[in-house]
Assembly symmetry: C2
Homo-oligomer: 576 residues x 2
Amino acid sequence: MLEKIAPEQIKNCTKNELNVLCDEIRNTIYTTVSKCGGHLASNLGSVESIVALFYVFDFPKDKIIFDVGHQCYPYKLLSGRLDRFSTLRQSGGISGFPKRNESIYDCYDTGHAGTSVSAAIGLSKAAELLGEERNVIAYIGDGSFNNGLVYEALSSLKILNSNILIILNDNGMSISPTVGGMYDIISEIKNSGSAENIKLLESFGLSYMGVKNGNDLEEMIDAVSEAKERLKSGSVLLHIATKKGKGYEFSEENPTNTHGVPPVGAPKQKEYSEVLGETLCDLAKEDKGVTVVSAAMKEALGLADFFVQYPERAFDVGICEENASVLCAAMAAGGLKPYYAIYSTFLQRAFDEIIHDVCAQDMPVTFCIDRAGISGADGETHQGVFDLSYLSLIPNLAIASPKDTEEFRKMLVFSKDFKHPLAIRYPRAGRVVFTEGEGKEIELGKWEYLHRGNKNKATLIATGERCMIIAMKILQNLQKEGLDCDIVNARFVKPLDETLLNTLSSEYVITMEDNVAFGGFGALVSQYLLQNDKACKIKTFAYRDEFIPQGSVSELQAEYGVSCKEIESYLKSILA
Amino acid sequence: MLEKIAPEQIKNCTKNELNVLCDEIRNTIYTTVSKCGGHLASNLGSVESIVALFYVFDFPKDKIIFDVGHQCYPYKLLSGRLDRFSTLRQSGGISGFPKRNESIYDCYDTGHAGTSVSAAIGLSKAAELLGEERNVIAYIGDGSFNNGLVYEALSSLKILNSNILIILNDNGMSISPTVGGMYDIISEIKNSGSAENIKLLESFGLSYMGVKNGNDLEEMIDAVSEAKERLKSGSVLLHIATKKGKGYEFSEENPTNTHGVPPVGAPKQKEYSEVLGETLCDLAKEDKGVTVVSAAMKEALGLADFFVQYPERAFDVGICEENASVLCAAMAAGGLKPYYAIYSTFLQRAFDEIIHDVCAQDMPVTFCIDRAGISGADGETHQGVFDLSYLSLIPNLAIASPKDTEEFRKMLVFSKDFKHPLAIRYPRAGRVVFTEGEGKEIELGKWEYLHRGNKNKATLIATGERCMIIAMKILQNLQKEGLDCDIVNARFVKPLDETLLNTLSSEYVITMEDNVAFGGFGALVSQYLLQNDKACKIKTFAYRDEFIPQGSVSELQAEYGVSCKEIESYLKSILA
């Protein structure tokens, strides 16, 4: 059925046909995600509700915004993207998230949590002011419903006075199980129908409806139909209980492990997150002040064991990146040594709190920033390519970037007694452990040479494992042709190793980083050398000023400005 | 009394003495703010509650965090800072906000909204883990209580399982009157004692208490005493109704105008905000798609008239900077032309949404960024010196910076038909309107010469009115000595005027900006010239990598790196 059905035909299906459609969607998702990787469990849980939405509403005239987007695969399959679905998350293929440039059925791009309610209000207001009649729906999971932005949006519902339908898909999970007082309020409704809690939600100007089994197609169709009626006279919250991983026993029983899954057969590499977890456990054993804060990602960040071993010092506050940041600043003000582990792209949410709470007060908080640099298959909204720029502009903050997992371990040990804010940024997988290097201990703002050439004509300064791998590969190739250069591992992006820079005698200084060019590592090195009248020629390799789409990490690196081939040929041109 | 009383003696005062103390505090605040400027109305409203807190709790062993800090003057006066209070907001003097480096009574610095509850939880958790016995209090106004961060914090209360006292000082106002669904919930409790709404607050794990008149000292003492008792067994929300501006008729009746007041006799200058309001009204008349969004600051931003003339297209969403940003992105996605007016320092809160919602989707949202650059008397937490850096790293975003209010008007007109994200940043007061310049229309990424010298030895490129004033003053001084240089007005910080830069034939290029050096305008110019092999010497003047304290704008500019004298002598040295 799925192969032949057009979106507008779904309305004409019998209930039986719709159930067949649900099965086919589920199979397609399972098969594709097994091959391409992607978000499995949440998309399995949303099938019936999305079929019901197509049955009742008129897309693309009506608009839907998927919060984060981990539940949009069934919607993609039903809106004409089945034939391309096998390219999911691949270079040039279908995105794992809603994308306006992919289909007219996608009206608003998402990827970070909590934006859908604001976006629905804004789109609804636009339709109203421009005299267009349409329904606008925000589809949001209970994990995102914890995010502060959602309360800002709910609070503005009456101010903007626009009617929207919010579907709260409650499976009790974000990536980790959902936690927090707001979720308790929602849960209590789900479990006991608490009238007070319903009244609370209604005081934002929402009419409340609940569905006990959001994976029952008929129940869903009835509820969505009624919601559409109620929407004529005001905003509606349709709260549906679904099962994450629905239909696949292993996924139902392991919703956290099957939230995002790699393709079957993908190689298992040593990950930085494993080193983080192990080392923080060691530090916590040694120092009772060590605490760990996470925003709904403890497993992916390697902290599951820490939470078991030190439950009284481990805090998962849900998808609340700002709160996590202020909690850390205050814990530090109170004498503790907090570690805040988070993905690079999500730390953007806490930008103001890093400045205002952590760094202006010079608090000894350590940010452990995972998935830094190009992150690959998740695309534009998930690349961690801005952090070196948005962090280096902040006074008092030191930024470290290890060349491998072993150096990462040493940096964490260093961090324990460091009395100021520190950010350590690293990619997901560790690929090599370097045997080169000077074996020096980690010292604030000190770099090391991985190789000293004979001729002193060019110094290649790289930061982070990925760039260091490229640098050493280039060196090998140069040496094959009898050429040579110095290679420096910039362990810290800030402060720079001014002593090393001052004593450079190379004619050329070349930098490399897994970050955008503007405001990044190369920019800092350039500024320093210029302001100090160093008479060398400077060349920086970093990503150009564009949003970087999904694709393989190494291909994207090369395509957006950090190409091994290009850097090598630049070096050959100056060394020859 | 106020002159003689030590903090720990307040407990021993009679009620009568305490009332005298309240009057003296009020007088001192009124007199000082009339002289120094500062936050008047909110501090007049908090007097009795703060006296009651000293009566019941033991500061500094017990800790209090003032959200934003607009209510902390009485606390400062009672904690040993009366003798220095006449230096309020002046260079080297008492800060208008809580400051840890000012007194051991200040435990946590604030300035931006919504941090106090998270901070109280973090401090309480630290005390618990380190085995220290103390009470921790968050003192927050109803305006801040709208901010999403507060809900993230409330939601984590049970997770961290720490007891705190939240005092919700409800005067019905932020800077503008408080608005929004969350405030309706609070108001309904205040007005009718709504049991459901109380139950809602309690479901976060808070015990609720209300005080009808928070300006009645005896009522306050009783309530705070009871709250302290309840705090032994869990967290408490003490909701007090106070009058903003209490005790001064003019302030009580004009709480918005007397929220922050300038010193008596301060000169009235033409402000950029006036031009913003006038021009947006003109644009709205011409184009029905023009909308305006503000986060609780419409008066200060010059938008009061717009809200009166175009109420259906003007939205004040309260202190919800993130929500405002997403609303704008979605309005633009829906076909409108939204303008988001905000102070530079507060826009930091929406950093992720600028990237993820506005720029990744390339939406035609215009950010009107007031109080950019050094903002002066409010100090570290309010300087707008980071925006050029944190904005220029974002793909798709253009950044303009007018040389005067007339150019600002033209930029706004330009923005109307511009189809991409645009940020226009400007300081508060306009000081001059330049007669120099080439009179060219605003064109994306195009600069203009304000002066062309004869010798082509040096080109001084400045951006923004403040730097342009310095540049022209330097030129005058050079000319007096028979020296000369080119002066360029960089109307856009991004994109750069590459044509102009490519055709420069000067031996020296000097940049100036009202922003930090790292990642700022000078960094962009340097990177461009370096990557394109321009053989000129580059020198950038911008603020060094430190948090900039309170003081006069011009003194701080000079002290932190943009000194007229220093730049002039640099130019003389190279031109002579």
